[in-house]
């Protein structure tokens, strides 16, 4: 298996034949061969050949929690940039406030950041997001860090291990959006440290034993602060 070494594949690379394998994400079949359609890491999962992208835009999935930035206030809602190929629509019915028709600018304006959940995506890839879910709010302070959307699972870690690690060692409020935006609210020096940690996770995302190395780094940092 490919657990030992992670293989980088590029578009048009033949990954295997379609008889003994199944074509997973990021692949297509031509002439009985499974071929990668993008630059990424080959992942074999019970007969399925997947390509996990190294780079690329966020591909929205219904139910994802994302961080959006308002692009424009319309009369019946807002256009929100969620780092996808096109902006998503946030209807006045889908916010926790009672918005009068045409009074959308009182609540959210272009440039405001908010947490949202992807509500639905139609066949034209037109998206709707909602703020009517637990703990979704407009963000008034804190910082947003942008990372590659494909690296988000690494930043969260297995069952949130990486995030709870950061929270354990650095006092901060942190929310990771699936679209590659991370909101951090803390004292300025703590935000700077979280940024450094996330940069490290991002640049070493495809190596092994990352959680342990990050924990060591965080421990060392704590010691330095105490001294």
């Amino acid at each position: 298996m490919h657990d030992e070494k992670r293989e980088i594949v590029f578009p048009s690379q033949i990954l295997g034949d379609a008889k003994s394998n199944k074509a997973g994400k990021g692949t297509f079949i031509e002439n009985g061969n499974i071929i990668s359609e993008r630059l990424g890491i080959l992942n074999k999962n019970s007969n399925y050949l997947n390509v996990i992208p190294l780079k690329g835009r966020y591909e929205p999935v219904v139910g994802d929690f994302v961080i959006g930035i308002v692009e424009e206030a319309l009369s019946a809602g807002w256009l929100v940039d969620i780092n996808a190929p096109s902006p998503a629509f946030l209807h006045t019915e889908e916010v926790p406030w009672n918005v009068d028709f045409g009074a959308t600018e009182k609540y959210l304006n272009s440039g405001d950041s908010l947490m949202a959940k992807v509500l639905k995506i139609d066949e034209q890839k037109k998206m709707q997001v909602t703020m009517k879910d637990r703990n979704l709010f407009k963000m008034n302070d804190g910082n947003i860090i942008e990372v590659e959307p494909s690296k988000v699972p690494r930043i969260i870690g297995k069952k949130g291990s990486m995030i709870s690690l950061i929270k354990k060692y650095i006092r901060c409020r942190i929310f990771v959006g699936q679209n590659g935006r991370i909101w951090v609210d803390a004292k300025p020096e703590n935000i700077e440290r979280v940024k450094q940690i996330i940069d490290k996770i991002e640049s070493e995302a495809i190596t092994f034993g990352l959680t342990n190395r990050i924990e060591e780094l965080l421990k060392k940092d704590v010691r330095n602060v105490q001294e």
Partner: protein
């Protein structure tokens, strides 16, 4: 046009010492720009080309959007200092044509149906020109698209063949292009050998044309290997890490 220059000497060598089916030196580097989603810098003989890819992002103006697939906007531009006499900046007839044929070639290999209503913008900037810039531009665009993580069927590779001093040769240089008899830029999808771009300037007989196509396709395959190496080089070291 006849000239006094001997494009092929008595030993069968060309002006720069190449044989009939030799390419110029090619150097490709992926991911050179930080602001672009994907980028590539390519040196091909005396050509220097920089390509930046943006997107998929919302297509603007809105009437250019296609509700079924993404549109591909390639923009070929020559820098004012890229040629001996200053090139008047801005789009002209020639660069508009090249932009169009490159856009159409890229549309064929990008899986555009995954991004309805979006546009993928490819900016090709020719910093230094020495014949064969459209092939250089398209080759670099292929690497930049892969670097941007855009799903596609293949990485396009382009290469020109032509006829100089009565002989069919691969990859024309500057003098060969200026004083030669014909120029045949070809772009293919190397995995399937599908033709993505084919233009011809000058005259070739059918036999010469077939010979030139053979040379060009062979050249494209060599270039394709260099492209793949460049992409892997950029991302492989990160894996080894520690």
């Amino acid at each position: 046009m006849k000239s006094d220059i001997n494009l092929i000497d008595d030993n069968g060598k060309r002006l720069d010492g190449r044989g009939i089916d030799d390419l110029r030196n090619i150097k490709i580097e992926a991911g050179v720009l930080h602001r672009a989603n994907g980028s590539c810098y390519l040196e091909w003989g005396g050509n220097k080309v920089l390509v930046a890819v943006y997107g998929p992002r919302e297509a603007i103006p809105r009437h250019t959007q296609n509700s079924l697939r993404a549109i591909v906007n390639a923009k070929y531009n020559m820098a004012a200092f890229s040629v001996e006499d200053r090139k008047r900046p801005g789009p002209d007839r020639r660069s508009k044509e090249i932009s169009k044929v490159i856009s159409e070639a890229l549309e064929k290999i990008i899986l555009t149906e995954q991004f309805p209503r979006a546009s993928i913008d490819v900016n090709i900037e020719v910093l230094d020109a020495e014949a064969g810039t459209r092939c250089a531009g398209l080759t670099a665009a292929g690497v930049a698209l892969a670097d941007a993580g855009i799903p596609m069927k293949d990485i396009p590779a382009a290469c020109a063949a032509g006829k100089i001093a009565g002989k069919v040769v691969l990859d024309l240089g500057k003098e060969e292009d200026n004083y030669g008899d014909a120029d045949l830029p070809v772009a293919i999808s190397p995995r399937t050998d599908e033709i993505l771009l084919l233009q011809m300037d000058g005259h070739l007989t059918l036999d010469e044309f077939n010979q030139a196509m053979d040379y060009a396709i062979k050249g494209c395959h060599i270039i394709s290997e260099i492209q793949k190496k460049a992409i892997l080089e950029k991302y492989q070291p990160k894996m080894e890490g520690q």
